[in-house]
């Protein structure tokens, strides 16, 4: 594609980014509003953050969500990376089409269908619904996103390094763990991040698969939002945005360091 931007290009990018970021910016600004009325500006204040510290139900929900997100993202990263390796590296194994169908379908499947079907599974198994059922559900849905991220990295990956390791006698598994995995690590980390935020964010699937005692943050926020806009909600949302933004910046930095390390290694090698 030709480089060089016309005024039209610049305008459409600027308007697009404004559309994406203005509502979030407004939300963040209003979380520091001193007024109880959400729409009237009453000067800067952090009182809603203080109020949040005393809202134990909200804090419990946040803690539950963080634990679920951590566990499910970790499990999803392992499973998703395996699935990506299977799709890209395992060649044409028997049932590959069916396998890829199962991997790609959850990406577009309406959450409401996935949520309902997982709940009915847990009911059929007579499993106690709560923390673990939500974790299992989130692992299943988010692993497919990890697969997409890792798969695109594996596709552009130079297989000769891995093959060289195997020619030198490393078993395939060891070659993958010691040669391939470190090189695709930025993609794996990005996949974990994506899985973590998707889990932290999910309302529909969690609503179906949770049980008494395991209220996640989105479920809690949703029940509050249905009753109307509250300044405390602005505050908790701002904190979540900050956590995610920090995570993304950290991931970008890790990615850059690995990239730098690779350039450095290449330079030495040549």
């Amino acid at each position: 594609m030709r480089r060089g931007l016309s005024a039209f290009n610049v305008t459409s990018i600027a308007l697009g980014l404004a559309f994406l970021y203005l509502p979030i910016a407004i939300l963040v600004i209003y979380s520091f509003n001193a007024s109880r009325l959400v729409t009237v500006w009453g000067g800067w204040s952090t009182r809603w953050y203080v109020a949040l510290l005393h809202d134990s139900a909200m804090l419990d929900a946040a803690w539950t969500s963080l634990r679920i997100a951590f566990l499910s993202a970790t499990a999803a990263t392992v499973l998703g990376t395996l699935a990506a390796a299977a799709l890209v590296r395992a060649g044409r194994f028997h049932g590959r089409t069916a396998f890829s169908a199962m991997v790609y379908a959850p990406l577009v499947m309406p959450e409401i269908i996935t949520g309902l079907s997982l709940l009915l599974l847990f009911v059929a198994l007579d499993a106690d619904r709560g923390f673990w059922t939500v974790t299992l559900a989130h692992t299943t849905v988010t692993m497919c996103f990890v697969t997409i991220v890792v798969q695109s990295r594996l596709l552009s990956f130079d297989t000769s390094l891995e093959e060289a390791a195997m020619d030198l006698g490393a078993p395939p598994l060891r070659a993958f763990l010691t040669v391939t995995l470190p090189l695709i690590f930025p993609a794996v980390a990005a996949g974990w991040m994506l899985a973590f935020t998707l889990s932290l964010d999910d309302l529909v699937i969690a609503s179906f698969t949770t049980g008494p005692g395991a209220t996640t943050l989105p479920i809690r926020i949703y029940s509050e939002v249905r009753l109307g806009v509250k300044p405390e909600i602005n505050a908790i949302c701002t904190i979540m945005i900050a956590v995610v933004a920090l995570g993304v910046v950290a991931a970008a930095l890790i990615g850059k360091r690995t990239e730098l390390a690779r350039v450095g290694a290449d330079g030495r090698g040549g």
């Binding site: 390796a85 299977a86 060649g91 009915l120 195997m166 395939p172 529909v204 989105p218 939002v225 993304v248």
Partner: protein
């Protein structure tokens, strides 16, 4: 591990490589495939005041006799209800209408953005793509909630319109279709921009120069060269948006009105409010059948993208 001596055989079949396929395959079969079969089964059951709230329940302990009774107990009653009550049909049609219209809006909004990014200098492209993805990573629920702040009756949008003197009294934005469309376009924009960008970025610029050299006006070159070449991105983006939007629950629930429900809301109500599991399952099965064709096309595209590289 025994095959390490072989010279990179194309079909390595160590226990390790089998495990790489088996573990995720079994996981997805257990938590994705089997649950659908259960949904199908319960959609053929009947509501009951029991725990679980449906009949018949397959009793494996009863053996063959139990299985026969179970099969005899299945019925199409839930599907008959879907067909007879026009409420469900209206709900499906509305979902498809909203999904189709908002996919078109997303294309119109997303294309210029993707096109602009594809023309930007390389370094800027990475940053711009990151900026498009970033809001997608900040919670979906929060982004919908942010719009409630803006669209409510005494919200910022009305304040602004009043201050500018464009309207005399506050307009109703929340609980309207306009709010649903704004929410959907806002939430799904990255899903449209990224595939479009991916196909536009790969385009060969010399084709446009050739067209210009041959005296083709830019708008004609755009229509005859750029658009056809970006078609894979258009189709991928459209499917990536259309399918989940058709089953959307949160956006219409928080931003929309209560007159006609989208099918996701209908399913939610049947399940959580009416506790009618068989009908909720039948709604899900029918929705899946409606979306089957776009889902299969999407799968096909994904597979082809995997083979191409």
């Amino acid at each position: 591990m025994s095959e390490t001596g072989q010279q990179r055989p194309p079909q390595r079949r160590s226990w390790g490589s089998r495990l790489v396929v088996l573990v995720p395959a079994l996981w997805l079969a257990a938590f994705f495939l089997v649950p659908f079969l259960i949904v199908l089964k319960i959609s053929l059951s009947q509501t009951a005041i029991a725990q679980p709230p449906y009949l018949p329940v397959l009793d494996l302990a009863a053996g063959w006799q139990g299985f026969r009774e179970f099969i005899a107990g299945l019925s199409l009653e839930s599907y008959a209800m879907l067909a007879s009550d026009s409420l469900y049909l209206a709900s499906y049609l509305r979902s498809l209408e909203i999904a189709a219209l908002s996919t078109m809006m997303l294309l119109l909004v997303g294309y210029p953005i993707a096109y602009g990014i594809a023309r930007a200098p390389r370094r800027a492209q990475t940053v711009l793509v990151m900026l498009i993805v970033l809001p997608f990573l900040t919670a979906f629920l929060i982004r919908i909630y942010a719009w409630i702040n803006i669209l409510q009756r005494d919200g910022l949008l009305n304040d602004m319109l009043l201050a500018l003197g464009l309207v005399r009294e506050p307009l109703t934005w929340l609980s309207t279709d306009t709010a649903i469309y704004i929410g959907i376009v806002y939430s799904y924009l990255p899903f449209m921009v990224l595939p479009l960008y991916a196909s536009l970025e790969r385009m060969d610029e010399t084709l446009l120069e050739a067209a210009a050299d041959l005296g083709c006006p830019w708008w004609k070159a755009f229509w005859l060269v750029t658009v056809p070449l970006s078609l894979p991105g258009v189709i991928a983006g459209a499917l990536l948006c259309f399918i989940p939007i058709a089953g959307e629950f949160v956006i219409p629930d928080l931003l929309g009105g209560s007159d006609t429900l989208m099918i996701g809301q209908t399913l939610w109500t049947e399940f959580f409010a009416n506790k009618d599991w068989p009908v909720a399952s039948a709604v899900a099965v029918a929705l899946l059948l409606i979306l089957l064709v776009p889902i299969v096309i999407y799968q096909h595209l994904q597979m082809r993208a995997l083979e191409d590289r």
